[in-house]
């Protein structure tokens, strides 16, 4: 097995693990972590595509590598926005959950 095959299988495993966590964890911050696992799995798949494309004296295809860098930046920005929303949700006294039925607690308490 070459490093790129191993990394590809690793990427697939990470997507699977992330998906499992995304479905199962009720807490948005845990969902966000799971989402980031999926993200890095996808970047790894992109990474082996780049590695496989080694040619013309380069050990990688620079185009997908450039896309991965762009993707990592965008994924981080998304995490930051999600974290800001979660923090605000707890600051206005709402239990941090995605369940729309949960009412706001009148005492303005923090997340339980």
């Amino acid at each position: 097995m070459t490093p790129s095959v191993i990394a590809g299988l690793l990427g697939a495993a990470l997507v699977g693990l992330g998906l499992y966590g995304l479905i199962l964890h009720p807490h948005p911050l845990r969902k966000l972590l799971a989402f980031n696992l999926i993200g890095s799995g996808v970047f790894l798949v992109f990474g082996i595509v780049a590695r496989r494309g080694a040619a013309a004296g380069l050990r990688f295809d620079p185009v997908p590598q450039a896309m991965i860098i762009t993707g990592i930046v965008v994924a981080f920005a998304a995490s930051a926005v999600a974290v800001a929303l979660i923090l605000r949700l707890s600051a206005v006294g709402r239990r941090v959950t995605l369940d729309p039925e949960v009412p706001t607690r009148p005492d303005g308490g923090d997340a339980k």
Binding site: L32, F35, G53, V74, L85, V92, R94, T97, P100, T104
Partner: protein, 499 residues
């Protein structure tokens, strides 16, 4: 065919159309305060003019106009292309964004005595961002560039949902964000696989190279799944009603009539421009069934809502369902394919204008009455005749009664179903019309009663006229000449059977 990879006359207009709102975002953010509103409002006429100029060029040339960025051709570089469907969508977007900007002036003007207010700055920046992202989605010729545009759209839309800061809007925004991010990452995985299989992400180049392999099918499934989640196709619609119903009216209008169409547009790009050679009858059938389920489920849910804005949001879930009937009806080079294609775009446009008018009216009602409970609308039509005229006219188009854009769209869909021998699609189309009549009646019937109702404040005439204008456009679309359908065909690849 090299003309798809070289800059054509008028191609520079595409770049200008994109850079205008981007420059607007930068200026609005740097100057802040009242300048943000001035920049956004000041740029709308130019944006509208650019959209019209692009459409004129496309129509005159009869083929797509192209701009190769930096004169660096694909596959290494990126090419922008405006074809028939781009032109139509650019104009629609420009008109609705302009209307939303004018409508929003009343609510999102920076209050006196404050240098800068949170909600005003956010609204004006995000409105321009949505515009920029949609333009790129309509004209970009590169699947990764489209990914960045999709993310731009997400980042612009989510803050609008929770702009008034109530806890339930924060929950709605968070759900929307997680759904949208999941959709984007699925799309990106598909993009990675397509690049791995064919070494390019340029749409026409890919269309030449793709073959019916498991890798391509997996990529197509992932990208479609991700885009459907963003378009809120049943059963992935759960995020939409709370998000669209909780945003302020001007934002709801843009979200419901334009933002969901962005990801739908990409689904069309994927299947009809990247993968036209893939024979995907079964996949098209599944998507058609989901669309039908969306029509029924969305309409039934709309019938059961107590709040007007939620009713309108569920109606969006239903009306989106119609769009997906294009997949079983327009695949292949059959005679009915062009008819279904026009039907789909007529539905996009009719719904966009009617829904924006509806949300504008709902916003006016909520301001004037202090609530948007349908049960307490008794007698409201007497005191707000113009607003209810708008609701009635846009309701006409949603139901699909003649003459209206909604009627033209559904009539063409019915014809295409029958000609193509897929008569079973007529059932959800007709049932959806009846159910829509039901939920529009639910709004109008109490409002037309003799009850007395008091207004908290009287609505601004200019806002009422804006809403009415959009509803009139939805009606006027019913008189669209044949050239509409000709323009839509510009640059559409005809399916080539795979060996």
């Amino acid at each position: 065919m090299t003309e798809l990879w070289t800059t054509t006359p008028g191609g520079y207009l595409i770049v200008l159309a994109i850079l205008l709102p981007l420059a607007g975002i930068i200026l609005s953010f740097t100057l802040g305060g009242r300048s943000a509103e001035r920049v956004a409002l000041g740029s709308t006429p130019f944006g509208l003019a650019l959209a019209c100029a692009i459409a004129l060029h496309v129509g005159r040339a009869g083929k797509p106009i192209v701009y190769v960025i930096g004169a660096l051709e694909p596959p290494l570089g990126i090419a922008l292309r405006a074809d028939g469907i781009s032109a139509i969508m650019l104009i629609t977007t420009a008109v609705i964004v302009t209307a939303a900007a004018l409508y929003a002036r009343a609510k999102f003007a920076t209050p006196d005595g404050i240098r800068e207010s949170r909600s005003s700055l956010i609204f004006w920046i995000m409105l321009q961002s949505i515009w920029a992202a949609l333009i790129i989605i309509f004209v970009s010729g590169d699947l990764f560039n489209l990914y960045v545009a999709l993310e731009l759209l997400t980042f612009a839309a989510v803050p609008l949902v929770c702009i008034d800061g109530r806890p339930e809007t924060l929950v709605a925004a968070l759900r929307y964000l997680l759904f949208a991010l999941f959709g984007s990452i699925c799309y990106l995985l598909g993009v990675a696989l397509l690049y791995g299989a064919h070494g390019t992400l340029d749409i026409p180049l890919l269309a030449q190279r793709v073959q019916s392999t498991p890798v391509v099918w997996t990529a197509a499934a992932l990208m479609t799944g991700g885009l459907l989640a963003k378009t809120a196709l049943f059963p992935l619609h759960l995020w939409l009603p709370p998000a669209h119903a909780n945003a302020p009216a001007a934002a709801s209008a843009v979200l419901s009539s334009l933002v969901v169409k962005g990801s739908f547009f990409l689904t069309l790009r994927l299947w009809f421009y990247v993968l036209p050679g893939l024979s995907a009858d079964q996949a098209a059938m599944v998507i058609g069934c989901l669309g039908s389920a969306a029509i029924i489920a969305g309409s039934v849910m709309a019938l059961r809502q107590a709040r007007l804005k939620l009713l309108i949001a569920y109606s969006t879930v239903a009306q989106i369902g119609y769009l997906f009937l294009v997949f079983p009806l327009a695949t292949g080079a059959q005679s009915w394919s062009a008819m279904s294609w026009s039907a789909c775009f007529m539905q996009i446009l009719a719904h966009a204008f009617a829904k924006a008018a509806m949300f504008f009216s709902a916003g006016l009602l909520a301001e004037a009455l202090g609530h948007d409970q349908i049960a307490r609308l008794g007698g409201a039509a007497r005191v707000l005749p113009l607003t209810f005229l708008t609701i009635a006219l846009s309701g006409l188009s949603l139901m699909g009664l003649p003459p209206s854009g909604g009627f033209s769209a559904k009539w063409l869909m019915l014809q295409a179903s029958i000609i193509s021998g897929q008569w079973f699609w007529t059932l959800p189309i007709l049932a959806g019309g009846l159910l829509a009549a039901g939920y529009v009646y639910r709004i109008l019937a109490p409002a037309l009663s003799d009850d007395r109702i008091s207004l908290k404040s009287s609505p601004k005439r200019s806002q009422e006229v804006l809403a009415l204008g959009l509803a009139m456009i939805a009606i006027a679309l019913g008189f669209m000449p044949q050239t509409f359908s000709d323009i839509l065909e510009i640059g559409r690849p005809i399916a080539a059977a795979l060996p």
